[in-house]
């Protein structure tokens, strides 16, 4: 019963994070929502009894991809801004 409630909460959090990541105005906030989306999907993978996939998702989805996005956002400048 507890697991069932947890599954429903996790699924709706997944939906919410996907929607927020799509529609948020600030790019850095969007990246953060994407990172939390993959963190929550790690929980979903564990609930679906796939620990291998969960481990890979935790490393790649919320580690490597997020930091590459953050690096890219840090390296970009507005038009006309000095170096």
């Amino acid at each position: 019963m507890l697991i069932n409630i947890l599954e429903i909460v996790v699924s709706f959090l997944l939906l919410l994070m996907a929607f927020l990541a799509l529609t948020s105005k600030s790019l850095i906030k969007s990246v953060m929502f994407l990172s939390s989306l993959s963190m929550i999907s790690v929980i979903a993978f564990v609930l679906m009894k796939a620990p291998d996939v969960a481990l890979t998702e935790a490393v790649i989805g919320s580690g490597l991809v997020t930091s590459l996005f953050v690096f890219t956002l840090l390296a970009t400048r507005k038009v006309g801004q000095k170096q």
Binding site: F12, A18, F19, L47, I60, S67, L68, L74
Partner: protein, 247 residues
């Protein structure tokens, strides 16, 4: 209107996920699963003699594959040739990035300067993440994970050093030598198996006791090779992404 459409689209896609997360016939509770109607059961129960005897963790010896993690047994033993193909795909993508961005010399300029705390803290974290990656690679036949997540963890520890240290450029020559050595070693292991047993990438080492560190024949060796290769490949991709042209 556009937002409403996006919301409806997300809801429809998400309803599928919700439905499948709650599908109890697909994902039964712990201990409730009927092993008899699953393919994994035959993989778990097989041994060298081909019998369907009981397999006990820590006691059974000389099983056909000998890995406690059945996923690993399939990825690195039964389907090892597929894994060689995956490694090749990753190598080709790394090669493409190096061809396109290989001319860049300088580390990319960032807006912020890392302070003392960030530098020291990320060096401590670097060691912990690196050791976790190595652990996951070596214990691939016992615990979830294996060479691919372990290699990605090694690469993310290198990325952490990039974030913290302004002057840091990875020793890319060393990474390239490591990557090609590991690729050659994987092929060599397969060729040795071809000469000893007659089948490419066939296991030729004793399988040992189920659940101990030195068990499962070639699987730990192959996963260490894959971990180092994937780690150095992703590290070199990250290095190319984070450097720009200029003096």
């Amino acid at each position: 209107m556009k937002k409403l459409l996006a919301f409806v689209f997300v809801i429809v896609l998400g309803a599928l996920i919700v439905n499948h997360l709650n599908e109890n016939s697909l994902f039964t509770g712990f201990g409730d699963a009927v092993l008899a109607d699953r393919v994994s059961d035959s993989y778990i129960n097989r041994d060298v003699q081909g019998g369907q005897g009981e397999v006990i963790f820590g006691e059974s010896q000389d099983l056909e594959s000998g890995a406690a993690n059945t996923v690993t047994a399939i990825v690195a033993d039964y389907r090892s040739f597929d894994t060689l193909g995956e490694i090749t795909v990753l190598f080709i993508s790394s090669l493409g990035v190096a061809l396109l961005l290989g001319q860049s010399k300088k580390r990319i300029g960032l807006e912020f300067r890392p302070n003392f705390m960030l530098k020291i803290g990320s060096r401590a974290l670097f060691a912990i993440i690196l050791m976790t990656g190595v652990f996951i690679s070596i214990h691939g036949h016992l615990t979830p994970g294996g060479g691919f997540p372990g290699g990605a963890m090694i690469a993310s520890s290198v990325l952490l050093l990039y974030l913290a240290d302004d002057e840091f450029r990875a020793k890319m020559r060393g990474f390239k030598v490591l990557e090609s050595t590991m690729g050659v070693l994987y092929i060599l292991l397969g060729v040795v198996g071809l000469f000893i047993t007659g089948i490419f990438l066939e296991n030729f080492i004793d399988n040992g006791t189920l659940g101990s560190l030195f068990s499962a024949g070639m699987i730990p060796i192959i996963y260490v090779i894959i971990g180092l290769k994937v780690g150095s490949e992703i590290s070199s991709v990250i290095d190319h992404f984070l450097s720009e042209e200029g003096a």
